[in-house]
């Protein structure tokens, strides 16, 4: 497509939109779909016909609006948000379009949950129809790709990404510009770009929401990355557990090929790039880049030692760029508005915004995007709306099974890569689980260790055996059968597994134990000495006195 053709699509779309007086948007991402937003959408469409409003009311499906707990969500105007809408409410919603909104359904559109977010990655989520490429183009989509291909050299693209200070959003936080530059300098005629959408962390659904709500943004990011590093083939490695995301992604790839944003001679230049989808099959370890590569090659997802890094020798031994969904979704805005603009958001070492999946014991569960450096307190109590049912906050868990639990006294810490590391947790991919006094921290540590134990690929001994031993010790503690020596042994094992495991899974597996031991040691001691579980979660069998 030429710039003129893109401009034409935008005008046609805008004209089509002006035809209607009202736009009723229904969330059709997985969260709302599982509370039957498809039925709500069908009912609204039927009601528009019923009330004879086909000429001036348009019902559209859009991506995730964020507040998943209150779904299905419907908006009629920017300031009117309806929550927990049922098919029966359709008539009232359509009838009220020209007057005051329906009071009983009104949601908190002006709540801090919406007003305090800064949306870059999610700018189109809940706004555009994820199944129509024209919607994405009308929102400025593929403009960055067009611009990069016709106005910039690959080196300039990399320079812009470098200037933005963007760091890998998969969790490790490696500077994206540096990674791109390494791959672009690597020798070899065949190079690959892989999008890591194997979102394995339990309690994280950011990547899924982006793929379901705005798939073209990820494809555009991949195409720009491919141009910058000199790759001609890309893969999106996505979990098979996300059928809707896969379907929307495949649909998006087809549409992008049709309009020559993918395939040969992209945007009228000589640049060619293809994207294929590869399905994961439920192995957490495949989020690790070398394991992911093995899986794309059709083998067991066993990691291998690095170096050589995939940037030099990756997929089929060719230089390979692997970036997470959120990282790639940040690329188009960076190219569009410049690296300096992006770098002006966030903190000194962590630039830009981060998407979090806020869940657990918090009022507003859902998807949020905040500037780096916002405090945990703001996220949990202002955006999240605090703890429901009058319970007391206990901890917030970030980083999934590789992260840690952060207690109340650190709630005022700014959220960025360095601060979280200092607290013994990690940024991770963005899962943020809030826990209240009803959670037992030893039980939580044991839950994560069970996860790591069963997800360990078994290749290296420290991880395979160590996680099993640590899980046994934690089980002993939660059952009230442990003594203080067991706790010492546990700490020793943590140290050993962390320092000797082959890949990130094993190296970070002890984090949940270490962080809970650091901040909630009293709970461990209560299980061991007092044989009680302070939160009342663990069922401790009191020893029966045996008469001699």
């Amino acid at each position: 497509m030429t710039p003129e053709e893109i401009a034409k699509v935008i005008t046609t779309e805008q004209e089509a939109r002006l035809k209607y007086k009202h736009h009723v948007c229904v969330c059709v991402a997985a969260g709302c779909l599982s509370s039957h937003s498809d039925q709500v959408k069908a009912a609204l469409e039927a009601e528009v016909k019923n009330q004879g409003r086909e000429q001036d009311v348009h019902v559209r499906g859009v991506g995730c609006m964020g507040l998943c707990a209150a779904g299905p969500l419907v908006t009629t105007k920017p300031e009117t948000l309806y929550q927990e809408v049922k098919a029966e409410d359709a008539a009232d919603i359509i009838a009220s379009l020209d007057s005051d909104p329906v009071k009983r359904l009104e949601g908190p559109a002006s709540d801090p949950f919406f007003t305090r977010q800064v949306k870059i990655v999610l700018e189109n989520c809940g706004v555009i129809d994820p199944e129509r490429i024209e919607d994405y183009i009308a929102a400025g989509g593929y403009g960055a790709l067009q611009n990069a291909l016709t106005e910039m050299t690959p080196a300039e693209v990399i320079e812009e990404v470098y200037k933005s200070g963007l760091r890998g959003r998969g969790g490790a936080g490696y500077p994206t510009g540096l990674k791109w530059s390494t791959v672009s300098k690597a020798s070899g005629t065949q190079k690959y770009v892989i999008c890591n959408a194997d979102e394995g962390d339990p309690g994280a659904f950011m990547d899924r929401s982006v793929l379901e709500s705005d798939p073209h943004r990820v494809l555009e990011g991949m195409a720009i990355a491919a141009y910058a590093v000199g790759a001609s083939q890309g893969y999106v490695y996505v979990r098979a557990e996300y059928p809707l995301a896969i379907q929307r992604l495949q649909n998006a790839i087809k549409q992008a090929r049709r309009l020559h944003f993918l395939g040969n001679d992209i945007c009228g230049t000589t640049f060619s790039f293809n994207i294929d989808v590869r399905l994961g099959a439920g192995a957490f370890v495949c989020g690790e880049e070398t394991a992911l590569i093995a899986s794309v090659e059709g083998r067991r997802g066993n990691p291998r030692p690095r170096p050589p890094y995939p940037a030099e020798s990756g997929l089929w031994d060719c230089p390979t760029l692997i970036n997470n969904v959120e990282t790639l979704a940040s690329i188009a805005p960076i190219i569009r508005k410049g690296g300096e603009w992006y770098a002006s958001i966030g903190t000194e070492k962590s630039r830009g915004t981060k998407v979090f999946a806020l869940a657990g014991r918090v009022k507003n569960t859902g998807l949020i995007e905040v500037p780096m450096g916002m405090t945990l307190r703001d996220i949990v109590f202002s955006i999240g709306g605090g703890i429901p049912d009058g319970k007391r906050f206990k901890a917030v868990q970030t980083g999934g099974p590789s992260g840690g639990c952060i207690p109340e006294e650190f709630l005022d810490m700014p959220v960025d890569y360095e601060s979280l590391n200092k607290l013994g947790s990690i940024m991770g991919s963005g899962g943020m689980i809030v826990m209240d006094e009803t959670s037992c921290m030893v039980d939580v540590a044991s839950y994560f260790m069970e996860f790591c134990m069963s997800e360990s690929c078994g290749k290296c001994v420290p991880c395979r055996v160590g996680t099993a031993q640590m899980h046994d010790l934690l089980t002993k503690i939660t059952q009230g059968r442990a003594c203080l020596e067991d706790l010492e042994l546990l700490e020793e094992l943590c140290d050993l597994v962390r320092n000797t495991s082959l890949c990130g899974l094993g190296q970070s597996a002890p984090n949940p134990i270490l962080s809970t031991l650091k901040y909630f040691k009293d709970e461990y001691l209560a299980h061991i000495d007092g044989k009680t579980c302070p939160a009342g979660v663990c069922s401790i069998h009191k020893p029966v006195e045996v008469e001699a």
Binding site: S34, F205, Q397
Partner: protein
């Protein structure tokens, strides 16, 4: 290295093998299409049995041991048929915090099966998922393909009760 590969004709004249064949053709019968092919077999037949594994191994020229290795490595693949109804309970962190252990206990009490097991009459398979990504609706489960959120043990037992006994 010399490896003997089995027959590359489908195990039966079931027309569904054509769907599997189409996937392999799309990938040029390259060995790296193994995972994609196994996905298609499972989608088409519901699970991977021995004859399917042997056929895929032969057709893609991958040693059977490697096919078996891949099929057992990934949690998504089932080597046994599923029950008539399936209940996939999410065991992600958000769901766990909000009471999944109680749901699993209730299922075990009522139907006598743990995650990964199928009732003796083949009616209900109970499975656990690492995370459905429906954390806003925790605790959640997928009942016969439909995601149901904000479950209590009573809700879940009632919904599963409607599946009755296997009389087929």
């Amino acid at each position: 290295m010399w490896t003997e590969f089995g027959s590359t004709t489908p195990p039966s004249d079931d027309v569904r093998w054509r769907i599997v064949g189409a996937t392999m053709r799309r990938h040029g019968h390259r060995p790296n299409a193994l995972i994609e092919t196994l996905h298609t077999v499972q989608e088409t037949f519901g699970y991977l049995d021995e004859q399917a594994l042997r056929y895929v191994a032969a057709a893609l020229r991958v040693p059977l041991s490697q096919v078996y290795g891949v099929a057992t490595f990934y949690h998504f693949f089932n080597l046994k048929p599923k029950g008539k109804h399936t209940c996939v309970v999410c065991t992600g962190t958000a769901c766990y915090i909000k009471g999944v252990p109680a749901l699993l206990n209730a299922i075990e009490e009522q139907h006598g099966v743990k995650p990964g097991e199928t009732t003796a009459d083949g009616n209900i398979s109970v499975m656990s998922a690492r995370c459905l990504g429906s954390c806003g609706l925790a605790p959640a489960a997928v009942l016969d393909g439909e995601v149901v959120g904000k479950l209590t043990p009573n809700d879940l037992i009632e919904r599963m009760g409607k599946w009755g006994k296997n009389d087929a």
